[in-house]
Each structure stands twice: as C-alpha cells, then as structure tokens.
C-alpha cells in the first residue's frame, strides 16, 4: 500500500495516490488536481461559524477500507458486522431496504442491491463504481452543480473525494422503498469526503436516506461532503439526512439540486452533534412550476454551533418553495439559520414560504437568524416568519399537573417542537431521532 496516503496532510502526491489507488481514468485525476489548486488558493469563509481552529494538516485524507468490497452480509469481518449491528442494520436490510451502501471509513465495504431495482434499470452503486461503470454519465454530471470553484470545501471534496453513492433512476421508474446509506467515521483525525451524485430522470421518484453516527473520540475530525442531485421534468426526489456526528467533527457540506419543469425536490435534514456544522442545502428551481422544499432540524449543545439553512433559487415562472427550519439550542449551544431566497426577473408568479422556529432551552444558549431575500420581480410572493421560543412555565406546569415530572415534560415539549420533521421520516428513523433527542434532553434540566 502506498505510504503517502497513510499519513496526515494534503499534497499533490496525496491526490495522485488516491486516484491511482482507485484506478481512476485520467480525467478524474485532472479534476482532482485542479480542485486541489483551487482549495489551496482559497481562503476560509469569514462568515458563518468559527473555523479558525481548523488545521488541514492534521487530517488524514484517505484510508482504504480494511477489506475488499463485499456483497454478502455474512462475508463481512466480525468487527465491522458488530458495528453495523449496533446501528440496527441487519434487520432493516433483511426486511425493507432496497439496498445498503454502508461506508466504513472511506470505502464501500458492504453493498447489496435488490435485483428487482436492477431490472428496472435503477443504478445504485458507490461513486467509485460509478466512475468505472458509467463514465459518460458521471463525466457529464459530476461537478456540474457544485464545481470546485464553488467554495473551499467543495474544492477539497473534489480533490480527495472517496465513497458516496451514484444513483440513476430511469424515466417513469418509481423507487417505492427508500434507498439508504449509512456513513460512519471511526478513526481519529480522519476526514471523510464522500461524494454523491443522483440523477432522477423524467417522471421518476426516489427517496434517498443517509444516516450518520460517529463514536466519540478526542481529536478533531473533518467531514466535507458534496451532494449533487438532478431532478428531471416531473420527477420527485426526497433526500433525508439524519446526522449525529461526535462533538469534535467539523461538518461542512455542500448539497445542491437542479430542479426542472414541474419537478419536486425535498430536503429533510436533521443535524445533531458535530462541533461545527455549516450546511445550506439548495434547490435551483430551473423549470416552470418546479417546487423545492427544505425541512430541517438543528440541535446545538455545549460548545456546538449549528449554522444551517437553505437556499432556494427561483429561475423560472410559477416556481414555488417552502423552508421550515427548526432549531434547538441548549447548554450554551448556538444555532443559526442562514437562508437565501432568490427570485430571478424571469420567475414571475414565484412563491416562497420561509418559517424559522428556534427553541432556546436556557439563558446560556443562543439562536440567530440571517435570512436574505433577493426578489427581482414584482410578481412574486415571499412570506417569512420567524419565532424564538422558550419552554414556558405554563407549559411545564400544565404537563406536571398531568403527572409528568419536569424532565419528561421538557422532553415532551421538545418532541412536539420537532414533530413536523419527525413525521416526515420513515418510522425507524423517527423512533431513532426521538430517542436521540430524549438522550440529549436528559442532561438539560436546569
């Protein structure tokens, strides 16, 4: 194994080694190297969360998985199998899942794809397999929505990406069960840079779910993913994320969707954990009557900053968008909503609804809202409402008078607050999210 990629830090040679290790075609290596230059030339963003403690030299940018890709569960090494069992994977895999792409460190080591989907022409492979097996599609779409010039972390991801999914859904094919991917960081100092590209062809439907958990460890980790989604006319894509990074992770993610005529893109995004999250999923509503939705939840606790939001770019007439952003700050945590709604001159009759609700659980915690609306036509309707609330004494007394102790009362109020997001999740995720919130709340009675 090449020695360079086992050490920390990022150089020209690191990138060459990653590409060589993946036996990539030359064009991908060139893109990586071009992106590396952009990454190195670009300064850190000066807005948003505090990134001054980020030290790029301390991260390891690639580590091959301990085994070759697997297709059968029983072939996985016992240790990895146990890890996944703790995540509740095997059962879910047996029963409901179309296929699992589980990422252990940087590579797909376990994958299965039900034949039924394959027969319909649905492609659900790792990004590496995508590059090898569908070079034309990947070459055409990779980096088109999120080019390396976009931002420093998009450049970084493009240079060192590893893992992630490539999905293609043919015209009119409706994928009835959600496609799921589980990601897990589990070695210290290890940056994870998965890259996902989804193309939903005309009139198709897809629900993709990524859930992330990470064990706690002491040194800072970096997660800089890029997700690009192309939603062709009349197609509908829902992308659901539940992330629970350990509290030392920098989670800096660029997610963007291109939404064509009468197509629908829905982001459902739950951010728990991490040290710093900066994430603003975007819908570019490019075709008439395209619709974009964002439903998000951020929970920030002690020494955490969740700087999250959404971008809705209305480029065509009669496009519509809705943003529902909920946040909870506790134990000195900080949540920020940062959003952009842009309505271009051509987008006559566009409508956008933005609703931000922040729940602040104690005086040490903080929540801010940074909405930006750029409306370039008079024929558009943009509604924005923001609320900041605390758990009221009246609510607490109401619930305690019904026999709930204060801790449980608080948990019920918080669970109610996030209900609009939870009810959009598949049952197993809803249960898991409620449980995570309850665990978070257990220390929150002051």
């Amino acid at each position: 194994m090449n020695k360079t990629i086992k050490t920390t830090g990022l150089t020209h040679q690191t990138v060459v080694s990653i590409s060589r290790h993946k036996s990539e075609p030359k064009w991908m290596l060139q893109r990586r190297l071009q992106a590396l230059k952009l990454f190195q030339a670009r300064a850190l963003p000066t807005w948003g969360a505090d990134l001054s403690q980020l030290d790029f030299s301390q991260f390891r940018y690639y580590r091959p998985a301990p085994t070759k890709p697997q297709t059968r569960w029983q072939d996985l090494p016992p240790k990895i199998r146990t890890t996944f069992e703790k995540l509740g994977l095997p059962q879910a895999e047996q029963e409901a899942l179309a296929g699992i792409k589980a990422q252990y460190d940087s590579e797909i080591i376990y994958s299965s794809l039900k034949q039924r989907l394959a027969r319909k022409g649905v492609v659900f492979v790792s990004m590496e397999e995508g590059v090898q097996q569908y070079p034309q599609l990947v070459r055409q779409y990779f980096g088109r929505l999120v080019p390396p010039q976009d931002n420093k972390f998009a450049a970084l991801n493009t240079a060192v990406w590893s893992g992630g999914s490539f999905i293609y859904v043919p015209p009119k094919v409706k994928v009835a069960i959600p496609l799921q991917a589980y990601f897990r960081i589990n070695s210290p100092h290890f940056g994870q840079f998965e890259r996902t590209l989804i193309i939903a062809d005309e009139g198709s439907f897809l629900h993709y779910i990524e859930g992330c958990t990470a064990p706690t460890y002491s040194s800072a980790s970096l997660h800089a993913a890029v997700v690009e989604i192309f939603v062709k006319p009349r197609a509908r894509v829902r992308y659901t994320t539940i992330q629970n990074w350990s509290t030392n992770v920098y989670n800096l993610v660029t997610k963007r969707a291109w939404v064509e005529e009468e197509a629908v893109m829905e982001w459902v995004d739950g951010n728990l954990g991490s040290k710093v999250t900066m994430k603003y999923p975007c819908c570019i509503l490019a075709g008439p009557k395209a619709h974009g939705e964002m439903l998000s939840l951020a929970l920030a606790s002690h020494q955490q900053h969740q700087d999250t939001g959404a971008k809705m770019i209305h480029l065509a007439p009669q496009t519509s968008s809705q943003i529902v952003a909920k946040s909870i700050a506790k134990d000195g945590g900080r949540t920020s909503y940062r959003g952009l709604v842009k309505i271009a001159p051509r987008a006559e009759g566009a409508r956008s609804q933005i609703s931000c609700d922040a729940l602040i659980l104690d005086p040490q915690s903080r929540s801010d809202t940074y909405p930006l609306n750029q409306i370039e036509t008079a024929k558009a309707i943009v509604e924005h409402e923001a609320t900041v609330s605390q758990i009221s004494q009246d609510q607490l007394f109401y619930l305690t008078s019904r026999g709930f102790d204060e801790m449980r009362a608080r948990a019920l109020i918080v669970a109610g607050f996030i209900q609009p997001l939870v009810k959009q999740l598949p049952l197993e995720y809803a249960v898991e999210l409620n449980r995570l919130i309850e665990l978070e709340m257990e220390g929150a009675v002051g």
Partner: protein, 240 residues
C-alpha cells in the same frame, strides 16, 4: 375525600385566599362561586401545586397529605386540574399524551383503546375528530380547549377534579354538553370542585354543595337555593 383545612394562598406576598376550609366528597359536585378577583383560580392553581402560589394549611386527599408534594406527585395521587385557559403544546399527540399520562398514574391501556375512548368522548362533547390530528390544544378555540380538559378528566378518571370555569366562553349548547360531562365525571366517582360565574351552569350541575367566596374567604355555604339567591341579588349582600 379532598379536605382543604385552613388554606391560605399568597402570590408575591399578597394574600389572595385566607383561612379557607372545605371538603369535596368522592362522586359529588361542589360548586364554588364568587366575583372576579375573589381568589378562585388562585386557590385551584395552588391546590395543584403551581410554583407561583404559596399555599399554607393542610390539604389531604383520602387521608394523605398532598400540599407539600410536587405537582406531578399530586396528579399521580389522583388530583386533576382543568385549566381556565389551557395552554397548547404544539406537536404533542393528544392520544400518546393521555396514554402516557395514564401510565404515570399507574394505569395502563393500549394506544388504540385510548384513541377509541377519546373518539367516543369527542362525539359526546360535540368536538371534531380532527382534534386528534393536531398537537395538544393546538389550533383549538377557547371553548374547544375547555371541552378537551373535561375529556381528559373523563379518561384519566382522577379521584378529584378541580375545574376552573369550565363554562366560560361557551355557547348555550356547549354549556349543556359540558354540564353533562361534569355529571358523568362525578358519576364515574370523581369528586368535582367546579368554579363558575354562571348560575345557569351551577344549577344544571345539581351540586351537592355550593360555596361562595369573596376576597379570599368563604362567605356563604349552602345548596341550590344559594345559586338562586346569587342570581337574584348578586354577591353584594355577602360580605367577607
């Protein structure tokens, strides 16, 4: 029985209830009437353990002293407060809420059973079934919230229910439905202490006893004839 013995309630140093004693028997209805500001709501909130109200004196529930207990412990002993202005808890599923509240009090039933009971009671109270689709009290009018308080009591089956103006802001038909619901509650065995302004309501309840409170003190005690007297003459002649 629920026994209030020499109860004094203070709010921010102000005495709002003074040396008040009364008892509520299981399965009976006690009506407490009095002008605005006479201390009725303060009394009920203090009995339920609201931290804002300091209560002195003894409150015993079936022989057990409860006035030193946290609100949730009082509830678990079988005390229920029907709020005058019930607050909404957005997103909190009413069925799951009642299911868990029952468990807190040592009873158990399936979610399905609770849902069925609630649907039955919603009909009895002429409430829309869509009440169950929203968070607790969310999007409901004041009158609807009051009805939902009674519905909760009917399902939780507390030993004693303190009902704070269950009739205010209700139309005539709703008033009758609420009165019937309170009577059903008492027939179930719950002892009810009902605070009301309205003689019409008080009469419909056919209470076992009636107390009049003015300036924090009981100034008259009787039965239905006392209601007629209040309706005819007001509270003027009853001085503290």
């Amino acid at each position: 029985m629920l026994k209030l013995d020499q109860i004094t309630v203070q709010v921010e140093g102000q005495t709002v209830v003074n040396q008040l004693s009364l008892t509520v028997q299981p399965g009976q209805i006690t009506v407490l009437m009095g002008p605005n500001g006479s201390g009725k709501t303060s009394l009920l909130l203090a009995l339920a353990g609201h931290p804002h109200y300091q209560l002195k004196g003894r409150v015993t529930l079936d022989g057990q002293r409860i006035d030193q207990l946290a609100p949730e412990k009082r509830a678990r002993q079988g005390l229920f407060l029907g709020f005058q202005t019930p607050i909404a808890i957005p997103g909190l599923d009413p069925v799951a809420f009642l299911w868990e509240a029952l468990q807190q009090q040592g009873q158990s039933a399936t979610l399905e059973a609770i849902r069925n009971q609630m649907q039955h009671q919603l009909k009895q109270l002429a409430l829309k079934e869509t009440v169950l689709d929203h968070g607790l009290n969310q999007g409901l009018s004041g009158g609807e919230r009051k009805k939902l308080e009674l519905l909760q009591a009917l399902i939780l089956k507390p030993k004693y229910a303190l009902l704070d103006e269950p009739d205010s802001g209700l139309d005539i038909e709703s008033l009758q439905l609420v009165a019937q619901a309170i009577k059903r509650l008492s027939r179930q065995g719950t002892g009810c202490l009902v605070v009301t302004h309205y003689p019409r309501m008080a009469r419909q309840l056919q209470p076992n006893q009636v107390f009049i409170i003015r300036a924090g003190r009981i100034v008259a005690q009787g039965q239905q004839e006392l209601i007629d007297q209040i309706e005819a003459q007001g509270y003027q002649d009853l001085s503290p």
